[in-house]
């Protein structure tokens, strides 16, 4: 073996942990299992395990004595269970190894759980007259700690802390104190009872309850427990428990005697076999880990709606003071509102009449209507301007024009500024009322409301910030043009703004596209590229609408949210889909890239709230924003909302996407290691190549077993199999980088061609996707070096690089746009497990069949087909979606396409190409 002398061992040795876990004795295992099972049971909502099994002093009677034994198994929440497990395992393992399994069973189902429970109930019920329920394995932890402390005290009575000597038996009391301080709801009394019983046990007063050894031996002998039960610690083995040590790497398997307590030598061999089985370490383990990561990621997401993992929303910024002011917008303002509305209505009617005359109702497809906003005629714009000017505002206009996918979007923004009295134009709030709502309905009421509010707000002198009223013709492009120009970042065909104010502190979008009264407010908050406004703004809106005005609020189109798990999950998923696609959900979305928090308020339903109530809500919101001394920064910018008053913050949900992204990284690193250190079928390569897969595996198993059997001797593996293998990096690197660059071509095409060619382009890309990997595989196989070994290494390297890049991108993306990273990650999961089928393990026809089947399956997950299927599922036209996407790219600065074409697609092509290699 050519490797240099081994490096010093890691302080934390994973193999030790594994062997420790594998060696856990029987009763410990059962207890751990029971705790996990009870925790899992607690997740369902039908039957409350806690209610059933916890130790509730008032509930204890003859029929419910079982509680005295069940309570240590029950935990609330994952962390409680996990921490207790962590603390309990070593203590219990030690105890069992020392006393034997039977004794442990007898003691832990007998005195060691009933005594503390009894003591607790006595004190709690009859001395303190309270009824606090307790549960959790911490009682055993402290009990065992207590008995251990007594034992330590006997050998080593004091700690010396400077001049003071502290008896060592007090240490569990300190631990108990610390736990009570740091952990909420930790029962001090319960722990003290446990420690007390532990002391008694340690001092030997409970020896009476230990079953006599003779009896144990008799039972053991009769039932042949040692032979039947795995991991059973017999009465004879027990004394070794305390002094048993782990087999260390240097010791190898030579020191046979101390290991005998493990049981039969077969078990030992099995462990050693695992440790010395590089095939398992390099090939199977990464797959298992990757799979576990994916499963854990998905399960993690599914756990989020539970109460334990989500949080109640709260107002973080004290300056907001939502709902603390009286809103006066009512009374005669409603008359003015109706006046403005009638006035605008009359002009619009005249306009539509004249338009119908001129345009003779030519046939226009639905999407054109959807994509081309109605340009408002000059009279409407003039009327709006004159109203605003009469109210004493500074009015200005801005023309803009965008061209995307061959469609021109143009319009004229009208905006007006209420200059804050005594203000110095340093800060401003924006109110937007687009003529067309996000759903492309005429927002006449919203615009009239904004005009009325402008006149009303102008009379107040308390504004500390300017208030800007923006009236764009549509929700898609108008606000974007305005906000771009406000920061002087506008493209060429957008006019600069002639009138400006200070830094924008917040934005509110008003929509009211119907004439009847409304029931609740639907709050839109998603921004472009999945950016979100500060949670405080959303909370303020919910709190003012609900708490002050008595208007319910909804989010994510969840009209009947009954706060159940399913509804919460559905809300989260809808939010994630919107966030993942990253498109602008309303006029407010354009503000987010400039770090301006904005939301849209949409009245929904048929109720008894009128436009004045909406106006008062907006007044309250403006007053709250007006109170702000600093830019909104206190609360969360990364969150998933599951209900108007519940959310999960980034710290809780991020691991989900990170785990999924991590699965690619794990696989990539494993492949890299594998290409360098271990070469899968090296042993097989020296054998006749006809050997089938099963045989090879057997060979490996046999050889490793042999090496395990005659331990310290020369292993049976051939000397050249562990030599360093040169990695051929040029081709894999070129291929992966090249494919990522190649992604720019579809990115360009899908953002720049005329909208009517989008379906054609989609189908073409499907066809190309089907051919490209195979063509790539065919041409590369010819170019690849001839030896099978190098071919196989290079395909592994290609996969490694591709997955490394994917994992890197996705984990970075997860911090910016969690949902997109999660979705792409899920769609890419098969790529972790797709491999070039080794020609030595499968015959050619089998390979071909497998590869073709794999390719077909992978093709179903290709970007264009996923798009088609998603469109079919939602019932939207592909052309509309792609036009929208191109519009997003051109106008909103949306990055979703880049992720699709430059991250997902190259990884996907690589995966297909790997399968394609198997064909040749």
């Amino acid at each position: 073996m050519a490797t240099p002398a081994a490096l010093p061992p890691l302080p934390f040795n994973p193999s030790r942990v594994r062997s420790y876990v594998l060696r856990l004795p029987l009763f410990t295992r059962l207890v751990l299992l029971a705790i996990i099972v009870f925790w899992l049971l607690e997740l369902q909502t039908v039957w409350s395990v806690k209610q059933w099994g916890s130790l509730i002093p008032e509930e204890i009677n003859i029929g419910t004595m079982y509680r005295l034994n069940t309570y240590p198994f029950i935990h609330f929440g994952f962390f409680h269970a996990f921490l207790n497990l962590l603390a309990l395992t070593p203590l219990l393992e030690r105890f069992e190894a020392e006393h034997g399994t039977l004794t442990a069973v007898a003691l832990f189902f007998g005195p060691l759980s009933t005594f503390p429970a009894g003591a607790y109930i006595l004190i709690e019920r009859f001395v303190l007259h309270r009824n606090t329920e307790v549960f959790g394995a911490s009682v055993w932890v402290f009990l065992l700690l207590g008995s251990e402390a007594i034992r330590t005290f006997k050998s080593n009575p004091y700690f010396s802390l400077g001049p003071y000597k502290i008896p060592t038996w007090t240490s569990p009391l300190f631990a108990c104190g610390l736990v009570s301080i740091f952990v909420q709801n930790a029962s001090l009394l319960g722990h003290l009872c446990a420690i007390f019983v532990g002391y008694l046990f340690g001092l030997g007063y409970l020896k009476v309850f230990v079953p006599p050894e003779k009896v144990l031996r008799w039972i053991e002998g009769k039932l042949n427990l040692l032979g039947r039960l795995p991991h059973y610690v017999s009465v004879d083995q027990k004394t070794f428990g305390r002094y048993g040590v782990l087999p260390t790497t240097t010791a190898g398997g030579e020191r046979a005697t101390p290991m005998s307590y493990l049981g039969s030598s077969q078990r030992l061999a099995a462990i050693r076999k695992l440790r010395s089985n590089p095939h398992f370490l390099f090939v199977h383990l990464p797959h298992i880990l990757s799979f576990l990561c994916i499963v854990a990621g998905v399960v993690w997401l599914l756990l989020l709606p539970l109460n334990d993992y989500s949080r109640q929303t709260y107002i973080s910024e004290n300056a907001l003071l939502p709902g603390q002011v009286h809103a006066y917008f009512s009374g005669s303002e409603q008359h003015i509102f109706r006046g403005y509305k009638k006035e605008l209505e009359a002009i619009l009617e005249r306009q539509t009449l004249s338009e119908q005359d001129s345009r003779n109702d030519e046939f226009t497809p639905a999407y054109v209507h959807f994509l081309c906003p109605i340009t408002l005629s000059a009279p409407v714009s003039d009327k709006v301007q004159s109203i605003l000017r009469a109210a004493g505002l500074k009015v200005a206009t801005q023309k803009y024009e965008y061209t995307s996918s061959g469609i021109t979007h143009q319009g004229q923004n009208v905006y007006a500024i209420i200059q804050a009295p005594r203000g110095d134009a340093t800060e401003a709030i924006v109110l937007v009322a687009a003529w067309r709502t996000a759903d492309d309905e005429l927002n006449l009421n919203g615009v009239s409301l904004a005009l009325t509010l402008a006149g009303y707000f102008k009379r107040w002198s308390l504004w500390s910030k300017d208030i800007i009223f923006v009236l764009p013709p549509d929700s898609k492009s108008g606000t974007q043009a305005w906000i771009d120009a406000y920061h002087d970042m506008q493209p060429a065909f957008v006019q600069p703004l002639p009138l400006k104010s200070g830094a924008l502190q917040g934005g509110l979008v008003i929509e009211y596209p119907f004439d009847h009264r409304f029931e609740s407010l639907h709050i839109l908050y998603d921004g472009v590229n999945g950016q979100l406004p500060n949670l405080d703004l959303f909370n303020t809106a919910v709190s003012i609408a609900g708490g002050q005005m008595g208007i319910g609020s909804n989010l994510q189109e969840m009209w009947d949210h009954n706060d159940s798990y399913e509804m919460r999950l559905q809300t989260i998923l809808r939010g994630m889909v919107k966030q993942g696609f990253g498109y602008a959900t309303g006029a407010h979305s354009s503000f987010m890239p400039y770090h301006i928090d904005a939301i849209t308020l949409q009245p929904k339903g048929d109720g008894w709230q009128d436009e004045m109530a909406l106006g008062r809500t907006i007044e309250g919101l403006c007053r709250s924003l007006n109170n702000l001394l600093e830019h909104l920064h206190q609360s969360f910018f990364f969150y998933l909302l599951m209900q108007t008053n519940r959310f999960v913050s980034i710290g809780t949900y991020l691991p989900s996407a990170m785990l999924i992204a991590g699965n690619f990284t794990i696989m990539a690193i494993a492949l890299w290691l594998r290409t360098g250190y271990y070469f899968g079928s090296e042993q097989a390569a020296v054998k006749p190549p006809a050997a089938s897969a099963g045989e090879t595996n057997k060979q490996v198993a046999v050889s490793t077993e042999k090496s395990g059997a005659n331990t310290a001797q020369q292993p049976a593996v051939k000397t050249d199999s562990n030599s360093i293998i040169e990695r051929q990096l040029a081709l894999p690197l070129t291929l992966v980088v090249g494919l990522h660059l190649l992604g720019l071509i579809p990115l360009y095409i899908f953002n720049n061609i005329h909208h009517q060619y989008y379906p054609t382009a989609t189908y073409a890309s499907i066809a190309i996707n089907a051919i490209l990997p195979i063509a790539l595989a065919a041409s590369l196989t010819r170019g690849l070096t001839t030896t099978l070994r190098e071919q196989s290494q290079q395909s592994l390297l290609i996969k490694s690089f591709s997955l490394l890049v994917l994992g890197l991108f996705l984990s970075t993306l997860a911090t910016l746009n969690f949902s997109l990273s999660f979705m792409i990650g899920l769609l890419c999961t098969p790529l972790s497990f797709v491999n070039r089928i080794d020609p030595r393990t499968a015959s050619r026809p089998l390979r071909a069949v497998l590869a073709v089947a794999g390719l077909v399956l992978l093709n179903v997950l290709s970007p264009p087909i996923v798009l088609l299927v998603a469109c079919r599922y939602v019932g939207v036209d592909v052309e509309t979606v792609l036009t929208q996407a191109a519009f997003g790219w051109d106008v909103w600065g949306m990055w979703t396409q880049v992720v699709v074409w430059c991250v997902w697609w190259p990884a996907w092509v690589t995966g297909c190409a790997l399968l394609g290699f198997s064909l040749f």
């Binding site: 073996m1 490797t3 002398a5 081994a6 490096l7 890691l10 790497t249 240097t250 190898g252 440790r275 010395s276 370490l281 006066y328 917008f329 009374g331 005669s332 008359h335 003015i336 109706r338 006046g339 403005y340 009638k342 006035e343 009359a346 009469a390 500074k394 200059q419 009295p421 005594r422 203000g423 110095d424 134009a425 340093t426 009303y456 009379r459 107040w460 002198s461 920061h487 002087d488 970042m489 400006k500 200070g502 830094a503 890239p593 400039y594 770090h595 001394l629 600093e630 830019h631 920064h633 690193i669 890299w672 290691l673 250190y677 090496s707 395990g708 310290a712 001797q713 020369q714 292993p715």
Partner: protein, 596 residues
């Protein structure tokens, strides 16, 4: 050439006539209704003390507190401004006093100090700022070296100074300072009548600081006549623009509730007009107002010290045909310009003025401002930004020459090489031109981190009927953790720029320059999350250490099984020897351990 506004002429006339008087006290109030129901009220109080009595510390009209400070700080000429709000030049026309008696938002202070060198001048300047800070209850003590500049061309001394004086001009601004009643009270205390009598009795903090725009100024300067008689003049003025509607609201019910339905003024000609639908009608008539209505009190007679002055004390600028009701006994003088009438106050007789609501037929003409300037921060992000300054010359015939002066805090680092100019004509076409075409002279003093700010003075010329846009990029510095103020996320104030229009160019032949100030700016700087640095630092370093450590290990280490490792070790002679040595050592060690 733009005609100087009549208003300014009036001010200047009053100014010069008063300036000639010796050891005297004058006060005046000029009221002028402005469009959009605004009312400009300009209060001016001027007193002179002879230089000799000033030197002998014999103060008569001159406030002793201020006089002592000035003497202590060797200050020959002092200008102090307190301003809030912004002057709406678009609606209100040119500024009162041509902008010479106003400052940028917040507090602005500049002074000529007699000192031998720069260091001692700066020491005196700090003394002055600290003392004034106490006198005026303002945070003037925050004017330190980073906020102090020495303008080269933007300010000229207005007083007469001996050539032998070694004068240093220092200028400092506090753009974030909020001006309020605590500054007004000491200001009024400087007046000889202390706000108890005369026009100053109208100055009430509640009304004054409810104004849309408000500026207070204190100017001290020595003036010498040809004959060599010198006086020290203190000129205090308060200019406010009140919203008539807002000021008329009763003090116990200031909330602008929606008016009752029956008081709505509706356009009844609309076809949809009904009881519950109302298109509001714009009222064309002038609103009625009165002094006691607007200021909450009437003038309690004239200040006895002003007796003997012939000029009217309260002047009102409305067309002569407008009906004005003044208190009995006040002498009304109508000026020949057709718009001004002045009233002379009686001592100890309250004076009030009422203007009933009437149809406005003629208006006092307002001049077009000579130059419009706007300064904004553009761009976004935490690292870079840009400054955009727009100069608009409304005149169709004359170019405007002016000096543009800005001081930037040190954490805003401008890239002067990116200074670019675009010019937009009336045709709306934008043309990129070299900045040197407009910039005739540049004075640039770069910033030193934490020591001084950037000072930029440009002599510019904007051609007739065009708009010039200057832009430059800047970089935002990252402050030290402790340098952030408590409200770091609000942003950092950037002082307004000062524009001085040279008299020859736009001043209409007058010898006094016109000053314009832009609005102040708010600069968002990269701000750490102060609430959780501990968590963030600990967590990220742990994660990075763990991830880096384990991945690094995985990549550089070679993992072998225990058997392979021992086999490897057994193979080479060296390692075999090494192993033996280790075993030997272990044995020795083990023995010693046992004997212990």
């Amino acid at each position: 050439m733009t005609v100087l506004s009549l208003l300014s002429l009036l001010f200047l006339a009053a100014f010069s006539s008063l300036a000639s008087a010796n050891s005297d006290y004058h006060e005046s109030l000029v009221l002028q209704p402005l469009p959009q129901s605004a009312l400009l009220a300009s209060f001016n109080f001027q007193s002179n003390d002879s230089q000799t009595s000033f030197n002998e510390r014999h103060f008569r009209y001159f406030p002793r507190a201020l006089g002592q400070i000035l003497r202590h700080a060797n200050t020959k000429e002092l200008h102090l401004r307190f301003t809030t709000g912004r002057w709406d030049a678009e609606s209100w026309g040119p500024r009162p006093w041509n902008g010479t008696k106003e400052g940028g938002t917040g507090v602005e202070l500049w002074a000529w100090i007699d000192a031998v060198d720069d260091e001692s001048a700066f020491a005196k300047w700090i003394t002055l700022a600290q003392s004034l800070s106490g006198l005026f209850c303002a945070s003037l003590n925050f004017i330190d070296s980073t906020r102090t500049t020495r303008p080269v061309a933007s300010f000229e001394p207005t007083g007469t100074h001996a050539a032998s004086d070694n004068l240093h001009l220092l200028h400092g601004t506090l753009p974030g300072e909020v001006v309020c009643t605590e500054n007004l009270t000491p200001f009024l205390k400087l007046l000889p009548c202390k706000g108890k009598a005369g026009v100053a009795s109208l100055l009430d903090g509640h009304k004054l600081f409810d104004a849309s725009w408000q500026s207070m100024s204190v100017d001290v300067r020595p003036i010498c006549t040809q004959t060599g008689e010198c006086v020290v003049q203190i000129d205090q003025s308060v200019d406010i623009v009140l919203d008539i509607d807002r000021s008329k609201r009763p003090r116990d019910n200031p909330i602008p509730r929606p008016v009752p339905n029956e008081q709505l003024v509706c356009d009844t000609s609309k076809p949809y007009h009904s009881d519950d639908t109302c298109y509001p009608l714009e009222s064309t008539s002038e609103k009625s107002w009165g002094l006691s209505e607007i200021f909450g009190r009437s003038i309690s007679g004239s200040c006895p010290l002003t007796e003997g002055s012939t000029d009217g004390t309260v002047c009102l600028r409305v067309p002569h045909e407008r009906e004005v009701r003044a208190t009995e006994g006040a002498v009304e003088v109508k000026k020949p310009d057709g718009y001004t009438r002045c009233f002379t106050l009686e001592s100890s007789t309250p004076f009030d003025l009422n203007i009933p609501e009437q149809e406005a037929t003629t208006q006092v003409p307002l001049d077009e401002p000579v130059l419009r300037a706007e300064r904004t921060i553009v761009g976004h992000g935490q690292e870079r930004g840009g400054m955009r300054i727009i100069f608009d010359n409304p005149s169709d015939t004359h170019p405007v020459d002016f000096i543009y002066f800005e001081t930037l805090p040190w954490f805003l680092r401008p890239y002067v090489h990116t200074l670019q100019a675009t010019i937009t004509g009336r045709d709306g076409l934008r043309r990129q031109v070299p900045a040197s075409q407009f910039i005739k002279e540049t004075f640039y003093r770069p910033a030193i981190d934490r020591e001084r700010g950037t000072q930029l003075e440009l002599a510019l010329s904007v051609p007739a009927a065009s708009t010039v846009t200057l832009t430059y990029d800047f970089e935002k510095a990252i402050l030290r953790y402790t340098e952030y103020p408590p409200d770091a996320n609000r942003g950092f104030n950037v002082a307004p720029a000062v524009i001085k229009l040279s008299p020859a160019g736009g001043g209409g032949g007058a010898s006094h320059p016109i000053y314009i100030r832009t609005t102040s700016l708010l600069l968002p700087l990269p701000t750490p999350d102060f609430s959780m640095p501990y968590n963030v630092i600990i967590l990220t370093s742990t994660v990075i250490a763990l991830a880096f450590g384990s991945i690094f290990n995985l990549l550089v280490r070679r993992f072998v099984t225990a058997e392979e490792a021992s086999a490897m070790r057994a193979q080479t002679l060296k390692s075999r020897l090494g192993g033996k040595l280790v075993a030997l050592r272990d044995r020795v060690k083990g023995k010693t351990a046992k004997t212990e």
